[in-house]
């Protein structure tokens, strides 16, 4: 017979749920407000979302404090796992979201922001990602992932033009396939170990001494395939350029950061123990993934004619670069991953925001796409400040010191060096050099070419409003003065990662 369940409320550690609950409550509230009184301006919802995100951030600070004191906290039937990784990644998720949401306040009107549902879905998505990173249960990971993904597909489609639907459908379909891979991989792991909790899986495999290596590899294959899709590793990357192009620029920037950090955290949880257990295959495969993704994406980025697409490929390449951390799997590498991602989010969001600010509704004759390189020709003459800032982001992405991303690169390559991956370190360095070309290409267009006739520079600020400018300014300042905040950041990240056992 079943025993009645007696669970003390305290043992549930409900506080662990707080960071996820806040956006969910916020989303529901927004829907309720819309139901009660429709037709309210988007600025209200932006403000509300921002408020909830700030509250979320506050609870995260609290959680960070708790973690610093007591270490990893499990909660709600050990379903929630609040460790350093979860906290840092949630900081990045929420922080990046806070940078993203004011971008809705554009000068021109775009379709998605006319929906209160947009903001609700956005908050749900954040909650989904938060669940995904704050657990080691494959079911919750899966459900969180799907919640976030479904919301994301919709958010992309809500931009409401042909390209965005195309993007959403492509993303959705491939996402469904990836979901199939994920469930199949989980199934094999379950078959092997009888568990779907990562630490238990690890323990069981360890105890079995990886006897069923074939099974393990099948599981890893499918899980890797599904996360490679999320992380846009070649050849699972094919969605990324199209989706980035179809989505609004701000959304593209957001997509290049937040879903990926969530996926990275899960990947780290999943593969860390496998790598440490010396599964040579995985090491080889990840090595190949890292190198191919970095290199191929860079090479494709070289030939792009649209800035946004170029940035999409560059994001893929950066993902490959960061994937190296998973391969190297030392504390330094894992810290480098987060450090890199924090700095990357500043820079990349900034760059995409610049594109967003210059987004027109209708293409003039001289432009072949929304953000073709021609559009930026001679920008220094017509919009010098914007050109300088855009150039700054490009330099940072290229890894020119002392701008933000350089420090990430530095630390990442250093971790490769320390981890004994000499050749990898060199490949990473050389890839940065290849990448230099396409970033510089935009700089060349902006600073060294003459403007196209009919381009009076207004186009670069067509969407500019104070919030947009503030966000870009914030990103720019973060990019330039990254070095100032670097030391506390690195110490914080290292401590959290180390104390989480990674």
């Amino acid at each position: 017979m079943l025993e009645p369940i007696n669970v003390s409320l305290e043992s549930l550690n409900l506080m662990t749920l707080a960071p996820m609950l806040i956006p969910i409550i916020g989303a529901l509230l927004i829907i309720v407000i819309d139901v009660i009184k429709g037709g309210l301006d988007k600025s209200l919802y932006v403000g509300l979302s921002m408020l909830f995100l700030i509250m979320d951030f506050g609870t995260l600070l609290d959680a960070a404090g708790v973690f610093a004191q007591t270490g990893t906290v499990m909660g709600v039937f050990d379903m929630m796992l609040i460790d350093g990784l979860a906290i840092i990644s949630q900081f990045i998720i929420v922080g990046a979201s806070m940078l993203f949401i004011p971008l809705a306040l554009t000068h021109k009107r775009f379709h998605e922001f006319s929906y209160p549902e947009f903001f609700a879905l956005f908050l749900f998505m954040i909650a989904g990602f938060q669940f995904m990173v704050a657990t080691d249960n494959l079911i919750l990971i899966f459900v969180g992932l799907e919640t976030a993904s479904l919301a994301l597909y919709t958010l992309i489609a809500m931009h409401n033009r042909d390209k965005s639907f195309e993007a959403a459908v492509k993303y959705f379909t491939m996402g469904a396939l990836a979901a199939g891979f994920f469930s199949f991989g989980s199934m094999v792991l379950y078959a092997l170990t009888g568990s779907i909790e990562i630490n238990q899986i690890a323990a069981v495999l360890q105890a079995n001494n990886y006897t069923d290596i074939g099974y393990v590899l099948v599981a890893v294959t499918f899980l890797l395939a599904s996360f490679a899709f999320k992380l846009s590793l070649v050849p699972f990357h094919t969605w990324a350029p199209d989706v980035y192009e179809g989505a609004s620029a701000s959304m593209a920037g957001y997509m290049s950061i937040v879903p990926k950090i969530a996926a990275f955290v899960v990947t780290m949880r999943l593969f860390e123990f496998l790598i440490h257990s010396g599964v040579v295959w995985l090491e080889v495969v990840l090595y190949v993934f890292v190198v191919v993704t970095m290199t191929a994406a860079n090479i494709w980025a070289l030939v792009q004619t649209d800035v946004k697409r170029m940035l999409a490929y560059s994001s893929i390449s950066h993902a490959g670069f960061v994937m190296a951390a998973i391969l190297i799997a030392t504390t330094q590498a894992n810290s480098a991953l987060f450090l890199y991602w924090v700095l990357f989010s500043f820079t990349n969001l900034g760059a995409f925001s610049m594109l967003w600010m210059s987004r027109q509704k209708h293409l003039p004759d001289y432009q072949s796409s929304d953000h073709s390189f021609d559009k930026f020709a001679g920008m220094i003459k017509t919009a010098p400040v914007a050109a300088l800032i855009m150039g700054l982001f490009m330099l940072s992405l290229a890894g020119i010191p002392p701008f933000a991303l350089f420090w990430g690169k530095l630390y990442m390559i250093s971790s490769a060096v320390t981890g004994g991956y000499t050749i990898l370190a060199l490949i990473m360095a050389l890839n940065s050099a290849i990448a230099g070309y396409y970033y510089v290409k935009l700089i060349v267009y902006m600073f060294m070419k003459e403007p196209v006739t009919g381009n009076d520079g207004h186009v670069y600020v067509t969407n500019a409003t104070l919030p947009l400018k503030s966000i870009i300014g914030f990103a720019a300042i973060g990019t330039i003065f990254a070095i100032v905040m670097l030391n506390p950041l690195l110490e914080f990240i290292t401590a959290f990662v180390y104390n989480s056992g990674y």
Binding site: L2, G39, L140, T147, L192
Partner: protein
Amino acid sequence: MFEAVAFYLFSFLTIAMFFIAVTTSQALYALTALAAGMIFISAFFFILGADFLGAIQIVVYSGAVMALYAFGMMFFDTTRDVKEKKGNKMIIVGLGTLAAILVVVIFATPMVADNIVAFYPMTEGVGNTQDVGMVLFTKYLIPFEVAAVMLLVAMISGIVLAGKKMDLSLTLMSDAEIKDVKKEKNKKVLS
């Protein structure tokens, strides 16, 4: 013996149904075959003693999902023959069979699985549904709630995407056009 017969029978049926579902050029056949396949899968669930799952399978898939698809099919008018362009069949079949063979090769070998402990063992003498309920509302409470959120998201998404407001695209309209539309239409439509 019964189990073996049932397994092979339903295996054959599901494989056949799903095979039809992915190969037929008649959308209606595909839909029907898919629905049948889903039903046959629920049979496996019953065989394996997962009664709750079996029920859910029939309700959700054969009921809700199939209904949605049927609706969709009518909406999209795909009852006519679907032309599948001649692609490179070799790749598709090749990849498919290769995948199957590879995994089958591995799965054909029995697992060692020494240290498997049932973390949430089935309780003897308790109905499957009850059993499932116990676990679902303790350990899997959070995923369950998140799943609820997910369904909410799906619902909102469906409503938003299929809704009338998507017919006009503010993204593609200039400010002047938006103003005009605003005057004509109900304010609630466009906030």
